[in-house]
Structure formats: C-alpha cells, structure tokens
C-alpha cells in the first residue's frame, strides 16, 4: 500500500511526550476494571491485540489480508478444544492456539504471497473462507453450536482464572506482551526491511532482500499474534464459534485498523476500542451493526484515510505537513 497516507505513517523517533502517553494508557488499563465491566474491557483488549497483529501486516508490510478471521477464530477453536476436551491447562491451550494459527498462516501465506495488492486480498479471503467451510464440517468445532462451556481453569496451576480481576490482569499482561512484541518487530532491522517492502518492493528486491521470505515471515508472525488474541478470547468468553472464523470478522479487524490509523502503533488499539464500544451500544438498540460498520468504512475511506491516531499524528506531531519518516 504505497500511498500518501501510509507514507505519512509515524516515524521511528518516539518523543518523550509519546512515552508519557503510553505510560498513562497502561496505568488507565490497570485501573480500569474498578470502573468498567471487566468482560467488556477484556473483549476490547482481545480485539485490540488482534487489530495490532493485523496492522503488523497491513501497516508495516503493506499487505492487506482479508482472511485474518481464520487465524483468530482458528486459534480460538484449537484452544477451546484442547482445554475442554483434552483437559489441557490454559497456558498449553493458548500455546496450541498460537502454534495452530502460525501454521495456518504459513499455509495461507505461502499461497497468498504469490500475488500482490488486490489479488493478495482476494486470495486470503478465499482461503480463509475455505477454512470456514472446513470448520463448518469438521467434528471438533461442534458445528453451528460451536464449542461451549470451556472451563477457564488455573493458569500455571496457580492463578484461578474464574476470579474476574485475575483473568483481567492476565489478559492485560498478554495484551501488553503482544503489543510490545509487535513494537519490537516493527522497530527492529527486520521491521525496517518490511517497511522498505511496503514502500517499494522492487527496490527491496534489487537490494538483495528475498522479499517473498520476508513477506511470509511477517504473515506468519501476524497470524500467530492474531491467534494469541483469539486463544485468549476463547478463554475469556469460554466459547469458540463460527462467528470468529467468518469473513465478517476479517472485515471487522480491517475496520478497527482503518478507523484507528493504519501503520500507527496505537491506532488499532483505539480503533478496536471504538468498534467494540459501538457494537456494545448498538446491541441494545435495533440499529443493525452491519449498517453502522459499513457506513464507517465508507466514510473512513472517503475522507478519513489516516484514521484517528494518524490524523492526530499528522496535526500534532508533524503540523507543517512535512511529515517525512
């Protein structure tokens, strides 16, 4: 996605102000369960991690995947099944979910990176739909009902995840670790190469980088982290259903990222928070969520391509419009 909006994406230097904001944000998240319903917060955190993982691919590698639901929902199924049917402890279940999502990412990515741009999006969509049909027919997903009543269990045999505050802080820890991992990846030499692929794939090739391998690596990492979000979600909500693997879910994570700001670190988190809050609000009214989602999509694409955080960056941090990385 070599485009103005993305090129304006945030630079590598992080000012002191930004660090203070991050610290404040973390403090707010630590205090939040005392003021807001924890289940709702955990849903936000899971989707925020999902969106960040997705953004690693779209924002920093320039690949638009339309199939990330397969990794999110697939991992949720693997985790739920291993905990409920095999009696695995939560940490092993999460590990299996992440590994499964990474493997799925390897397979889907292997095919998808053979084409670029719009074809890449269509191929990921088609292959994730194939996985969806697999989940519809496979026995272990328990069909239309999904895997219900997954026990939360004890993390490392010690922490009782049935206690709301316990599970909240575990989810928060996973979220922070996941986002930190993404931040490290993005700002590593590896991440720089990914960005160079985003900006100019041919030039990256001519500099001697095997672009295909880097793309596949980014795809697998993004899938694994999306899987981490899905696994944790399965434990929090104690179920895994077809909703998590359906194409609408892939659309949702795109929306979160687009709304918050593609190629910004914080954008997907903000976007996920807003979308989840909006869904919660609309759940009690009779206004259909799909219409709201679609409208936000259209408005974002037409007039708001930088997203909320991208817009703030452009105005506050680079006001003169001289926003070169």
């Amino acid at each position: 996605m070599t485009d103005l909006t993305l090129r304006e994406a945030r630079g590598k230097s992080s000012s002191r102000l930004e660090w203070m904001l991050v610290a404040l944000g973390i403090l707010a998240l630590v205090a939040a369960p005392f003021f807001v319903y924890p289940i709702f917060l955990m849903k936000m955190l899971c989707f925020a991690l999902f969106a960040c993982a997705f953004n690693l691919l779209l924002g920093y590698t320039g690949l638009l995947s339309f199939g990330h639901a397969a990794f999110f929902g697939g991992a949720a199924y693997f985790t739920a099944h291993s905990i409920k049917v095999w009696g695995w402890p939560p940490e092993a279940g999460i590990l299996l979910g992440v590994a499964g999502a990474a493997l799925l990412g390897l397979v889907i990515g292997f095919f998808a990176i053979r084409r670029q741009g719009i074809y890449f999006a269509m191929i990921t969509l088609a292959l994730s739909q194939m996985f969806f049909f697999f989940c519809v027919q496979a026995e272990f997903t328990e069909g239309e009902d999904g895997i219900q009543g997954v026990p939360r269990g004890f993390l490392f045999g010690l922490i009782d995840l049935h206690v709301p505050l316990n599970i909240y802080y575990v989810v928060l820890a996973v979220f922070l670790i996941g986002v930190f991992a993404i931040w490290r990846i993005v700002n590593s030499p590896f991440g720089m190469i990914l960005r160079s692929i985003r900006e100019n794939e041919n030039r990256a090739t001519s500099l001697g980088y095997s672009v295909a391998n880097y793309k596949l690596a980014a795809f697998v990492m993004s899938a694994a982290l999306a899987g981490l979000a899905g696994s944790v979600k399965a434990i929090v909500f104690q179920f895994a259903t077809l909703t998590d693997v359906a194409w609408q879910m892939s659309g949702e994570v795109i929306l979160m990222t687009l709304l918050g700001g593609i190629g910004t670190m914080v954008g997907p988190i903000v976007g996920a928070g807003l979308v989840v809050a909006l869904q919660n609000m609309l759940a009690t009214s009779d206004f259909p969520v799909t219409i709201a989602t679609g409208l936000i999509f259209m408005v974002c694409v037409l007039v708001f391509r930088r997203g909320i955080v991208g817009e703030i960056y452009a105005r506050v941090f680079h006001p003169a419009g001289s926003s070169k990385d």
């Binding site: 103005l4 638009l64 719009i118």
Partner: protein
C-alpha cells in the same frame, strides 16, 4: 452408469454446475470489466446481485410487474444506483491505492446487505418462475426444468453479447483503449471520466441482471450475494482478470468442476473452487488467462 454413479444423478449435478457456472461467469465478467478500467475490485458486486433479485421481487410484490419487464428494469435500477455511487464516491478514489476501492465497496456491500436484512430478515423469499418457462421437458436421458435451461442459454447469450460489444463496437474500442492507456485516450478527446462512470454502471447492471435471473432458481434473500462473491473472487483469481473471455470461460469451467465434485465427493464441493485456486496459484500465479506478472 458412469464410474458407478447413475447417469441421471451425474447429468443432474452437471446441470446444477452449469447453472452455478452461469452465475460465476456473469459476475466475474462484470468484475473483470470494472477492474479492467477502474482498477477497482468491486466488493459490492455480490450485494448488487442481491439488489437485482430484490428489485425483481419488489417490482412483482408491490407493483405487479412481472418477470419479463423486470429483466430490463432490475438491471437498470442496479446500474443507475451504480452510476450514482461511482459519481459520488468511487470517482474520488482512483488516484490512490486500489485497495481503498476494495475497502469502500466492502463497506457499501455491508450497508446494502444490512439494510435488506433489517427490512426483510434473513429467510429467503420465493420468486415464481414465469409461466412461459414453467415446467420441464424430458430429454430422454434426463428431466430438464425449462427455466434452468433458459438461465444457461440466457447467460451464454449475455456473456457472448458483452464480449462482442467490447471487441467489435466503437464504445468497446474506447473501453479497451482506455484500459490500456487512459491518459492517451483522454488526449484524443474521449471523455474518460464518463467512460469510467458508464463502465461501473454496466458492471453493476450485469450483476443486477444475474440477480434477477437467479431469483426463480434460488430464493431471494439478503445474504444471497455475500457468500457468492467470495467464490467469484476465487474464480477471478483462477482466470486472471486480464481477459474478458477468460473470465467467462473460467466461470463456466469452475461451475462444472463444482458440479462434478458434488457427484464424486460431495463433502468437498464447497471448497473445490478454492482448492483449484490454490493449485493454479502454484502452477500459474498470474491465472489461466492472466497477463500480468
């Protein structure tokens, strides 16, 4: 008997495959025309197909307008809405990354689907087969419902007609030229923005036409387009969007492949097109008829 399968069952599934293939061909044709000129993947194509079916259904239910006028009116309605959307929104997205066009039309598809789901629920509404095409005929080796035969013939005629129009007419030559090099064509005094608008309208109208053709075969339901469009995307990847004829041929071929799979290994019939797509990506990443690398 063929490979232990009764010949009636075999031909029956082949016919189902041919009918599905007719819709794949019509829809991927529209997608290919739009993509060729606008460089936009029209995610709303499935929703426009649904809109065509609903236009027919509503015309009949509320105005008593039957199938034959609807066959003209429904595509016209969908085409005009397409033109409005192109003028108001899509035309602002041509200068930026094509992925934004995909995202915009995705949002549009969600809105259209959401609106119809809100008013009509998710259950399907039956649309009667027009009396002229009701009933069936015994071909000796199988029973052929006339309407299904009509769908296959009509879609073939439409596909070939559109292909000829693009290859042989003046408008078609402008279209092909503008696909190759829009700024040069503009320099020759052709109104390219108008051409883009009409092309999107034409593509949308084709989706609407497929929708009204499909109405008596499948039920008219708000969700009829969204699942189909993903399969059509796979068809488009297999064919490669470089050629109009390629899109048509691939559509029929994959429909038949799907029908055959239903005969021999029904469990895989949902995914066979995706599997073929994966194989084609391995062997010929540009697609069967694709030109681009």
């Amino acid at each position: 008997m063929i490979f232990g399968i009764p010949i009636q069952a075999f031909l029956g599934q082949l016919l189902v495959g041919l009918i599905n293939g007719s819709f794949y061909a019509l829809l991927s044709l529209g997608l290919a025309i739009i993509f060729g000129l606008l460089r936009v993947i029209n995610f709303a194509h499935g929703a426009q197909y649904m809109l065509g079916a609903f236009a027919g259904y509503l015309l009949l239910a509320h105005l008593g307008i039957g199938y034959w006028p609807a066959l003209i009116l429904a595509p016209l309605i969908v085409g005009v809405t397409g033109i409005i959307i192109e003028r108001l929104a899509l035309s602002r997205l041509y200068d930026i990354d094509p992925l934004y066009g995909l995202l915009f039309t995705f949002g549009l598809a969600l809105v259209l689907e959401g609106v119809f789901r809100y008013y009509f629920g998710v259950s399907g509404n039956p649309y009667p087969v027009p009396p002229l095409l009701a009933g069936g005929t015994n071909l000796g080796f199988m029973f052929l419902p006339i309407y299904r035969g009509w769908v296959v013939v009509a879609s073939l005629v439409i596909c070939i007609g559109v292909w000829l129009a693009i290859e042989k007419t003046k408008f078609g030559s402008y279209l092909r030229a503008a696909t190759e090099n829009p700024s040069l064509v503009q320099a020759f005094g052709v109104n390219v923005p108008l051409l883009l608008t009409l092309t999107y309208g034409l593509g949308a109208a084709l989706a609407g036409l497929a929708g009204i053709l499909a109405a008596p075969v499948y039920q008219v339901s708000p969700l009829m387009g969204s699942n189909l469009i993903i399969v059509v995307f796979a068809v488009v990847v297999v064919g490669g969007m470089g050629s109009i004829l390629g899109a048509i041929v691939t559509g029929y071929m994959l429909g038949l492949a799907e029908g055959l799979t239903k005969v021999f290994y029904p469990e895989a019939s949902n995914i066979v097109i995706f599997v073929i797509m994966a194989i084609v990506l391995l062997v010929r990443p540009a697609g069967l008829f694709g030109k681009d690398a």
